[in-house]
């Protein structure tokens, strides 16, 4: 059994590596297929063909495509994605600075989504009210249909412009540096409330659907009926038997959901001009800073692949029966 788990882990790990490798290859193909001379993107064409030839040689653009491909893959795995045109710093250094914010922001939203949706689903199930059930489901479907940028802009209009409760954008107040440590944190939270609502709302709606379906399915099982018949009280059944069983299928949903959140942060960061990786990507596209854009896309993809890997490991930890299932 133990060797089986190790084997599963290894296979899963290698398949993740393979996926990252595929992602890198895919990026390379896209970059090479894109129209225009790569040197044009680095220097102005007006500077003369001599300079651009020099740069082409320095970037090894004169070598055959296969050599370029291998050195690209090698560099990416070494952690070298080139130098950002705007920041004049290695790409990963710039990304790390912005990515840390996105990571924290996305994680808070992720945790909020899970807690809120499970709490809501449990509350609805306890109420056993058909009308309320339908009402919540329909409301959540409506919330799910509201695009993040519409929701964000409406929130800004209501709470920032009209009620003047929250700041319109940014992460820090102007006097942030002069505040004591505790107020600094409060200030950040104050700035993050609207973005968090924007990012979390649709996720809660999506998650709720899965949680509800999953719990409903578990409750219909015979062993729950058995427990009820044996006189175990409802609370214990819910806590010890329903929730642990219902949560398992959710973990793979959570892996996918994380991808949706990462996409959502991109939009949310742009709406509220927060210093995250998504806004970095959009800004660098608008300023034609291609190495940085590619770095951002690669980071987003790699994070997702890692997240799915960990989701599988957690699943394995919770349920050893899945050892064979994950392999496929």
């Amino acid at each position: 059994m133990k060797s089986d788990i190790v084997k599963t882990l290894f296979t899963r790990f290698f398949s993740s590596l393979l996926t990252i490798f595929l992602l890198v290859s895919f990026l390379f193909i896209i970059i090479r297929l894109s129209p225009g001379d790569p040197t044009d993107k680095y220097i102005s064409a007006k500077l003369g063909s001599e300079l651009s030839e020099k740069i082409a040689e320095k970037f090894s653009l004169t070598q055959p495509v296969t050599d370029q491909y291998f050195s690209f893959v090698e560099n990416v795995f070494k952690g070298d994605m080139g130098v950002s045109y705007n920041y004049r710093l290695p790409v990963f250094e710039v990304i790390w600075e912005y990515f840390s914010f996105t990571l924290v922001f996305a994680s808070i939203s992720f945790i909020l989504q899970i807690i809120l949706s499970i709490w809501l689903a449990l509350w609805i199930i306890k109420k056993r009210n058909k009308w309320l059930d339908n009402f919540v489901a329909n409301t959540l479907l409506f919330i799910y249909s509201v695009p993040a940028f519409v929701l964000g802009v409406v929130l800004i209009y209501v709470f920032s412009v009209n009620l003047n409760l929250f700041p319109i954008s940014g992460l820090k107040s102007l006097d942030y540096d002069y505040l004591p440590f505790f107020s600094q944190i409060l200030d950040k939270i104050h700035h993050l409330i609207l973005p968090l609502i924007t990012l979390t709302a649709a996720g809660v709606a999506l998650f709720y659907k899965y949680v509800k379906e999953s719990i409903d399915e578990v409750i219909q099982n015979t062993f729950i009926v058995n427990l009820r018949a044996s006189g175990v009280n409802e609370k214990t059944i819910l806590k010890k038997h329903v929730i642990p069983n219902a949560i398992r299928p959710l973990i793979s949903v959570a892996g996918i959901e994380l991808g949706i959140i990462l996409g959502g942060t991109l939009i949310t960061e742009v709406i509220f001009s927060l210093p995250g990786m998504g806004r970095l990507a959009i800004d660098s596209i608008l300023s034609r800073d291609y190495p940085l854009v590619i770095g951002c896309v690669f980071t987003a993809g790699a994070v997702m692949i890692l997240a799915n890997f960990f989701a599988d490991i957690i699943k394995l930890k919770l349920d050893k029966r899945l050892v064979k299932g994950i392999l496929n």
Partner: protein, 427 residues
């Protein structure tokens, strides 16, 4: 089901409404079509020169609009959908179809028309401005074609017209004085178009107000709907084709391609696709075609999974092996044997995909990477509205509502389809 408003009633109601409100416009379009056909016979070469997209668009819309009555009468008893009970989603769906097909009839203002910014900038909904029209200096009726062009420009508004002056208010004295904000300007009476000595002062009406360039928000919304729906439909069709074909190959053949495609879909399903879409649009440039292609390519994976698993199970059925033995080609197998069986799950998927694509297109336009500035689009309208959020709520409210209701409608219809196809879920 026997009583209450049905979809067919709603369609007729909308049709009557549009006909009453836009009666003269429809008559004008018809007149235009007839005189164009006349021109085609007398002077074919210049007729072809005059031909433009907006003319074709307006003519087709008008003809289709008039055809709706016989079509509805014909299909009344043949399509059960028309007789089903009306609810909010169906009602909105019909409105969307109307807007999509009959945009030139619903609004005859050009969505790009912008003039006298001082007067028209950021007007709230339901506001009006005065409109003066200068006489055109060209001599009329020299050619048939020229006459036709003048008529054409009167009916189908061009995006630029220097013969129009917009003003807040107009005073008639010896000369005509008109006010643009606090500025008072004068113009001779002779220069303006008049009718028996009286200067014609038209009222220009902005139902939903104007945007920061003084463009009519209502017509931008109407044409923006068209763009969004067009992108959605084309991208979904593209995804459908890719998903069906690859799914069929992977399920039917298996092998190395199957393994590769599985890996590939796994990345895509988990990947924050918007990053990739943004990268591709940034590298390849964003036009309406590239947006359609990118969204189409990024949406086929869930379809692929469904088709593949269905094909795997169908492969073992008797009817399929019989069809194989009879010697049908691969394409015939796909179209005749597999498509009818998998239609239900695929249809549900397509509906959800459509709402996703509409959302993605709007998000891309919001980020400034969508169909570009050349077309009005919901997302870019919201994005520009955010800059004027303190002054002009209507810039965000109307495109936002359009977007929300469209996505909500398609999500709900998708859900209804799921229930329709899986009656067991009802319990």
């Amino acid at each position: 089901m026997k009583s209450g408003l049905k979809i067919i009633h709603w369609i007729v109601l909308l049709w009557l409404l549009v006909t009453i409100l836009r009666f003269d416009l429809i008559i004008n379009y018809l007149y235009l079509i007839i005189s164009y056909i006349g021109l085609l016979f007398t002077n074919a070469s210049s007729a072809l020169n005059v031909l433009s997209f907006s003319l074709v668009d307006a003519s087709l819309s008008t003809l289709l609009f008039l055809l709706i009555v016989p079509l509805i009468l014909f299909f009344r008893n043949r399509v059960p959908f028309l007789k089903s009970k009306l609810n909010f989603f169906f009602a909105f769906f019909v409105v969307l179809v109307f807007v999509f097909l009959f945009a030139p009839i619903i609004t005859n203002k050009n969505p790009e028309f912008s003039k006298n910014l001082a007067v028209t900038k950021l007007l709230p909904p339901l506001s009006t401005v005065k409109q003066l029209e200068l006489k055109s200096d060209k001599k009329q009726n020299s050619f048939d074609a020229e006459e036709f062009i003048i008529k054409l420009q009167q009916i189908i508004k061009p995006s630029f017209n220097d013969k129009i002056i917009l003003a807040d208010s107009v005073a008639l004295a010896e000369r005509v004085i008109y006010f643009q904000k606090s500025k008072a300007l004068e113009i001779e009476k002779e220069k303006l178009i008049d009718k028996e000595g009286h200067i014609i002062i038209k009222e220009k009406y902005f139902l939903l107000g104007t945007d920061e360039f003084g463009r009519d928000l209502f017509s931008r919304l109407i044409y923006g709907t068209r763009i969004s729906l067009t992108v959605g439909i084309c991208a979904v069709i593209l995804s459908f084709i890719i998903g069906i074909i690859l799914g069929f190959i992977a399920g039917y053949r298996g092998g190395l391609l199957d393994i590769f495609l599985n890996r590939f879909t796994e990345i895509f399903l988990a990947f924050p696709v918007i990053y990739l879409v943004v990268l591709i649009l940034a590298l390849f440039g964003s036009s309406i075609i590239s947006v359609i292609i990118v969204l189409g390519i990024s949406g086929w994976m869930s379809l692929f999974k469904i088709v593949k698993s269905e094909v795997l199970s169908i492969k073992q059925k008797d009817f399929f092996s019989t069809a194989e033995l009879v010697g049908l080609k691969k394409s015939q197998l796909l179209i005749k044997e597999i498509l009818p069986v998998i239609l239900a799950p695929v249809l549900v998927n397509l509906v959800f995909l459509f709402s996703n694509v509409v959302l993605a297109e709007a998000a891309l336009s919001y980020l400034g990477l969508g169909t570009g500035n050349s077309y009005p689009s919901w997302g870019s309208m919201i994005s520009s509205g955010q800059e004027y959020i303190t002054k002009a709520w209507w810039l965000i409210a109307f495109p936002g509502l359009g977007l929300i209701f469209t996505i909500y409608t398609f999500n709900s219809s998708g859900r209804m389809l799921v229930k329709l196809f899986n009656p067991r879920l009802k319990e």
